[in-house]
Structures are given as structure tokens and as C-alpha cells.
Symmetry: D2
Subunit: 109 residues, 4 copies
């Protein structure tokens, strides 16, 4: 496993954890309706991060393409979470998403 | 692929579709908060159904064990959806869940 | 669910089944080494098809982007399976892959 | 997230990495046929570990049940990898599997 793979896997697993945590926290919010869009994209982002980690860990022939999509979805998730930055979990999640998007973009290029 | 595998894969894929559809419909409800528990279990149920289908399709050495868990989660999801049977999507989802639970239990035994 | 979603979900689920079946059959071949590349891409293709089906079934905000990647991976899988068209499972799998790639490309556009 | 969840998520993610790495290494072995059973169970084990991590990270209502199945599959994977302990990747993978099985059993009880 190259150095870059290791770094990108780490970013994906951290983003997966942040997104699943944010998903859970959104579902526990007083106003769940307001968080519906965030819940949706958190699920998608956590799942693509898991898929990207798996692809890199197994030296998949399509790892780069998966990282490219992962970067896109992380970017989208970060932008939605950012809008709810009054909630600590969304703020933290947005940071993990933007960081993972950046690392995945480099991996994909 | 044996006859039973085919039947069980079919039930899992139908339940996956019903659960993902119910997840989506719950997030579009007026009162999302009331559906929070349903949203959570729908995600879990859809994901374990996908995993069970994959395991049977690839003749996995642990297909039966996965079907046993799938039966449990389908049963749990059906019971939660049943409580919201005023919503058509929950009613339909509960039916798919109970049917899939039954087929998976037979497969696992 | 629009008509197109239904058609694309169907193609993804059929391709997932063909890929998981081909993965299994490749691992049972006399010469497994010759099928190593096919085994790898079958796993990836089955998993992205499952993800794409889930995304469309739940009306995901990133369903189109996932379908775009799914088309790419299906295309790649079809090309590798095509090279092993002496094996019935690879021939059948290549057909499902190319069909799914086409439908997903339309969905993504 | 409780202390135990954290520890169990860590064990699952380490086992997922070991299994995906072992899957890749097995497919690169000179004698792939001999590793076919190992390749199969590695895929299953990596996937259930990812599912268990997701369930705990999102405080899923079925996290314990998923951990119970994860323990079973990790145990099965460890036993198969153990038989190939001449290969460094299998030896390392067996260790991660047995450790994860133990932690998941505690979580499930």
C-alpha cells in the first residue's frame, strides 16, 4: 500500500465516522424535519467513504474512479452540513467532509 | 443456484426496495420526528437485505448466518413499520419485511 | 419513482446478480489464477450496482452521480469478462454489464 | 459513543483493513486456486466489519445483533486464514479476525 493510499483511507474512515455520527445526531435533534436533507446526504457520504476505503485497501482496479466520486459526494455533504453549523456535529462533519474531498481529489487525479 | 436461493434472493431484493422507499417517504413526511425510529431501521434493513442477496448470489460460505440475521432485522423493521400503518409506505414495507423474515428464517434453518 | 428509475434499478439488480454469480463461478474454475482480474472487477461491479440501486430506490440527492460511476465500472467489468467469453458465466455477465452501463449512462446524463 | 463502542469500532475497522489486504494478497499469490476459500471469506468478513462499524457509529437499534454475526464471521475467517499461516498476510489477518471476534462477542453479550 503506497503512502498516499494510507492517507486517503484514513481520511475516508474518519469521514465515514463523522457522517454516521452526524446522521445519528440529526435523527436525535428536536427539529428532525429541518435536518432531513442532512440525514440523506450523511448516509450517502458514509457509504461511499466505506466503499472507497474498501477499494483502496484491496488495491481495486477502479479505486481512483471511486475516490473521484467520493470527493464529489464529500463536497456536497460538507456544503449541506455547513449550513447547519449551529449544531456541533454538523460543523465537525463538514470539516471531515471537506478534508476527505481534498484528499480524494488528489488521489483521483 | 438452488430454487430456495432464488426465492430468498427475490424476497430480499423486494424488501430492500420497500425499505429504501419507506426511508425516502418517511423523510418526506410532514412529521419527520415521529418517523425517526422508522428511518433508522429502514436503513439497516435495506442494507442487510442487500448483503444477504449478495451472499446468496455468490454462494457465500456464511450465507445462512447472514440470512438468520436478516430475518431478525426484517422482523424488527416490520414491527416498527406496522405501528405507522396509517402511512401507505409503512404498511407496504411491513408486509415485505414480514415476508422476507419468514423466507430468510427458512433459509437459515 | 419515475419510469426511468424503475428501469435503471432493474438493470442494476440484474447486473449485480450476474457479477456475483460470475465471481462465484470464477472462484470455482480449474484455473483460478487466470480469472483473478475478473474476480476483482466482479466484486467492484456488484457492489457499485447495489449502491446505485439503493440510491435510486431512496431518491438520493446523488443518485445520478452514482449512476455515472456505475456506468464506468460496468463498462470496465464487461470488457474484462468479454475476454473470457469461453466461460458461459463471463459471457452472460458481460452482456448484463454492457446493458447496465448503457442504462446508467442515460440516467446520469 | 460509549468507550466500548469506540473500542469495537476500532477492532472492526482494523479487521476490515486486514481482510481487504489479505483478499488482495491472495489474488496476487502464485497459486490462487489454493486461496479461493480464503478470498471468499475475506470479502464476507471485510463487508460485515464495515457494516458493524457503520451500525455502531450511527447508534443503530440492531448494532448488537450485527456485532454477534460479525463475531461469527470473523471467527470463521480467522480459522481459514490460520490454515495458510505460511503467508504473512493470512497470519496477520487471522490475528485481526480473532481479536475482532472477541471484542464483538463482548459487545453482543
Amino acid at each position: 500500500m503506497t503512502m498516499s493510499y494510507e492517507e486517503c483511507i484514513k481520511a475516508c474512515l474518519e469521514c465515514m465516522e463523522a457522517c454516521n455520527g452526524c446522521y445519528d445526531a440529526c435523527l436525535k435533534e428536536e427539529d428532525v424535519k429541518m435536518m432531513a436533507e442532512c440525514i440523506r446526504i450523511n448516509r450517502e457520504c458514509a457509504d461511499i467513504c466505506a466503499l472507497a476505503a474498501k477499494a483502496m485497501q484491496s488495491d481495486s482496479p477502479v479505486a481512483k474512479q471511486i475516490c473521484r466520486l467520493c470527493a464529489e459526494i464529500c463536497e456536497a455533504c460538507g456544503k449541506i452540513c455547513e449550513q447547519h453549523s449551529h449544531a456541533e456535529h454538523c460543523k465537525k462533519c463538514a470539516e471531515s467532509c471537506f478534508k476527505c474531498a481534498e484528499v480524494c481529489r488528489k488521489m483521483a487525479s
